[in-house]
């Protein structure tokens, strides 16, 4: 919209004969600034000049001392960093081409990734193995600002789903490369990883297992239930309100509610106990997540099937398709984008909720979060939180691409 405004104004002015004056005069300053860029710049400047870039702690539990960009890096690196990040901020704030903005955004993120890796060797004496260095508010603010610049540029480029998937793969490869090179090994979060490496992958696998397992169960039960609700108004009138109520139960309470009945079941039935069903652990976590997943799957199936045009369904029936043929060849394929949207909601939501399942012994990355909170070790909390966010982010991008691909052939 914004881009067309000057053109429109010009067209309106032409007949009145003042075209010349309005075209030669320089546009006002605000017309040359990018609105998202202003926000990016404000956040980046606050992060660079008023917040510490890294925190140095004598050991992993004691709160530490903030270091500015200049304090945490060798003089040359600090100078290069400040210069390049300042240029990036200027590019962001001016109205520039989307491709340039994308390159500057990605470049700045890579620069930040390189700079933070240099800090430990600069500020910690080589013989001190207790001191910990972590990224501080300034780093996170700048990372946030330039991530915003990058995503805004991607949105402006209107990249197709396949291009976005390629970018996701590129980001994953870049992160894997930096981790593999050992450049970040001096950072506190990776020191926490080093002591927990085996457990990290075990809990990660558990995390994904819980999120995907509950999703699979919700699709297996929810899809047929949604189809039945679409066909039967009475069933719909009962099912959706019940699922709505389940959705409003806070997750902590839900996990708590599972403990008593499942504990009793395990006590009474040796079969259940031998299957690993107990009041705490994986079973209640899986059941709670499954219950949360049902509403989005069922509701979106009902809405998706309801949106299929009446004439299309009637044509299918009029040409002699059976109920099953109609459902699988016409109704479900046409409802697929909406159903996938429900699955996207469930997956992203579950990846977050699994974290809390650690409270009842369900496992997952939440284990590190709660362990870290218990020990007041911030970096251990991050070891659980950062991969969780990365997983949710990846799931969202993957499913958004799938939804868009499935939408292509829909009118």
């Amino acid at each position: 919209m914004r881009r067309f405004t000057p053109k429109l104004l010009r067209n309106e002015r032409e007949p009145s004969g003042v075209t010349e004056a309005s075209e030669t005069a320089a546009p006002p300053l605000t017309a040359r600034l990018d609105r998202v860029g202003i926000v990016v710049a404000v956040i980046a400047i606050v992060g660079m000049d008023w917040q510490s870039f890294a925190t140095l702690k004598p050991n992993r539990l004691i709160s530490g001392q903030g270091l500015s960009l200049a304090q945490s890096l060798p003089t040359l690196w600090a100078a290069i960093g400040i210069a390049l990040l300042s240029i990036a901020t200027i590019v962001a704030v001016l109205r520039t081409g989307a491709l340039l903005r994308l390159a500057v955004g990605i470049g700045s993120l890579l620069l930040l990734a390189v700079l933070i890796g240099i800090v430990p060797a600069t500020v910690v004496p080589p013989d001190n193995s207790y001191a910990r260095v972590s990224p501080a508010a300034g780093f996170w603010l700048m990372a946030f600002a330039f991530a915003m610049l990058t995503t805004d540029a991607i949105a402006k480029l209107q990249l197709g789903p396949l291009a976005r998937l390629t970018m996701l793969a590129g980001a994953a490869i870049a992160v894997a490369f930096i981790l593999g090179s050992g450049h970040w090994d001096g950072l506190s979060i990776l020191k926490e990883y080093a002591t927990n490496a085996q457990k990290f992958w075990r809990e990660g696998a558990k995390h994904i297992e819980l999120a995907l397992g509950s999703l699979a169960a919700a699709v297996v039960i929810g899809l047929p239930l949604g189809i039945a609700c679409h066909r039967n108004a009475t069933l719909r009138g009962i099912t959706l309100p019940v699922l709505n109520v389940i959705q409003t139960v806070p997750s902590m309470a839900m996990y708590g509610l599972m403990i008593v009945p499942l504990g009793l079941l395990a006590a009474w039935s040796p079969l259940a106990a031998s299957l690993g069903i107990r009041g705490i652990g994986t079973a209640p976590a899986l059941i709670a997540l499954f219950l949360y997943s049902l509403l989005p799957v069922v509701a979106n199936t009902v809405v998706g099937l309801g949106e299929v045009r009446r004439s299309v369904v009637e044509a299918a029936e009029g040409m002699g398709m059976t109920k099953f043929q109609r459902l699988f060849q016409v109704e479900l394929p046409l409802a697929l984008p909406v159903i996938l949207t429900g699955i996207r909601i469930v997956l992203v939501q579950n990846i977050g909720l699994v974290t809390i399942a650690a409270l009842i012994g369900g496992g997952g990355f939440g284990t590190f979060v709660f362990q870290g909170i218990g020990q007041a070790a911030t970096d251990l909390v991050l070891l659980g939180a950062v991969p969780t966010i990365a997983l949710a982010f990846t799931a969202a991008i993957l499913l958004d691409a799938a939804i868009e691909l499935s939408e292509r052939r829909r009118l």
């Binding site: 004439s311 009637e314 040409m319």
Partner: protein, 312 residues
């Protein structure tokens, strides 16, 4: 031949179709006309059992439609609805192939049939076969809808307001296409519309329905000349009644021997066209020419007048 015998349909305590009987000759076009709520669509849908009759019998070629399953019955009957109902996620070719696929035709036979039908509706197969419905114009979508209904070579085609969503020019073209295809394939067509003009133009016979009852079932000329008392009269008694009547017959039907001055009129033109020419050229008679241009006689204003109405 389709025979409806004392067919009724009840929805709850409302009688949507009330004791309707009529029969449709093989190879003809029958138009059911009526306002919304007249029961015309319900009647049509009972023929392919999208709606089951509450009472009465429907026979196609002597066979009771209730003796086969609904799906099997429908696969043998073409069906076209308003807004065409094309499957938006399938290509034109796959849309047309719907019923042959359901019937289990082999793929080479299906491909051949799709090409044949696209060509019949003057759409180049290589250009249109792989397009999706949303890439077509309204008129093209409508043609694909009819092609899809004809794919499995049905002897009977049911059409529910097939031209309702088209603008007037495309609509006229679609009507001509239908007449041409019907004549070429010799199929039986039952078409539902609310538009009397369309009914008169397309129908060999017209069934007028109101309030679930069949009020009159007759050829268009008879409906115009001797409308049943009441609703049918109101429906056809407009200012252009004589012109409608004239549009039903060709010039050759009242050509008289003799000659006349002025530009000749084609023997195949309608009487309405002839009247228009006579009025425009300010003459009482004009010569009539056959297709090869030879003069075969003349047409007079007096003869047209005798044909354009009934004496009061």
């Amino acid at each position: 031949m389709i025979e409806l015998e004392h067919v009724s349909r009840r929805f709850g305590d409302q009688l949507a179709v009330d004791d309707v009987s009529f029969s449709v000759e093989r190879g003809t076009i029958t138009v059911i006309v009526g306002t919304s709520g007249s029961g015309k669509s319900t009647t049509l849908r009972m023929i392919n059992r999208l709606i089951e009759p509450s009472a009465g019998t429907i026979r196609i070629d002597g066979k009771d439609t209730a003796s086969v399953s609904g799906e099997e019955l429908r696969r043998g009957i073409g069906y076209v609805i308003q807004g065409n109902g094309l499957f938006p996620h399938w290509t034109v070719a796959r849309n047309i192939a719907t019923v042959p696929t359901l019937l289990g035709w082999d793929s080479s036979r299906i491909a051949k049939r799709v090409d044949e039908l696209l060509t019949l509706f003057s759409m180049k197969p290589e250009e249109f076969a792989n397009k999706f419905p949303h890439q077509l114009s309204g008129g093209e979508q409508q043609r694909v809808g009819v092609a899809r209904a004809l794919a499995a070579e049905p002897g009977l085609l049911l059409m529910d307001e097939p031209f309702g969503a088209l603008d007037p020019i495309i609509r006229a073209k679609a009507q001509e296409d239908l007449l041409a295809v019907q004549q070429r394939l010799g199929i039986t067509v039952v078409l539902v519309t609310h538009d009397m003009e369309e009914a008169i133009h397309l129908g060999d016979r017209i069934a007028v329905m109101d309030g679930g009852r069949l009020l009159q079932y007759a050829p268009p000329a008879e409906i115009l000349a001797r409308p049943a008392h009441g609703f049918v009269e109101k429906l056809v008694n407009g200012a252009d009644r004589p012109f409608r009547l004239l549009s039903l017959a060709p010039v050759s039907s009242i050509v008289e021997p003799g000659t006349a001055e002025g530009p000749p009129i084609a023997a195949t033109a309608t009487l309405r066209d002839a009247l228009s020419e006579l009025l425009w050229h300010q003459r009482d008679a004009l010569p009539v020419a056959s297709a090869d241009g030879t003069l075969v006689g003349r047409i007079s204003l007096a003869a047209l007048r005798a044909h354009a109405g009934v004496p009061a």
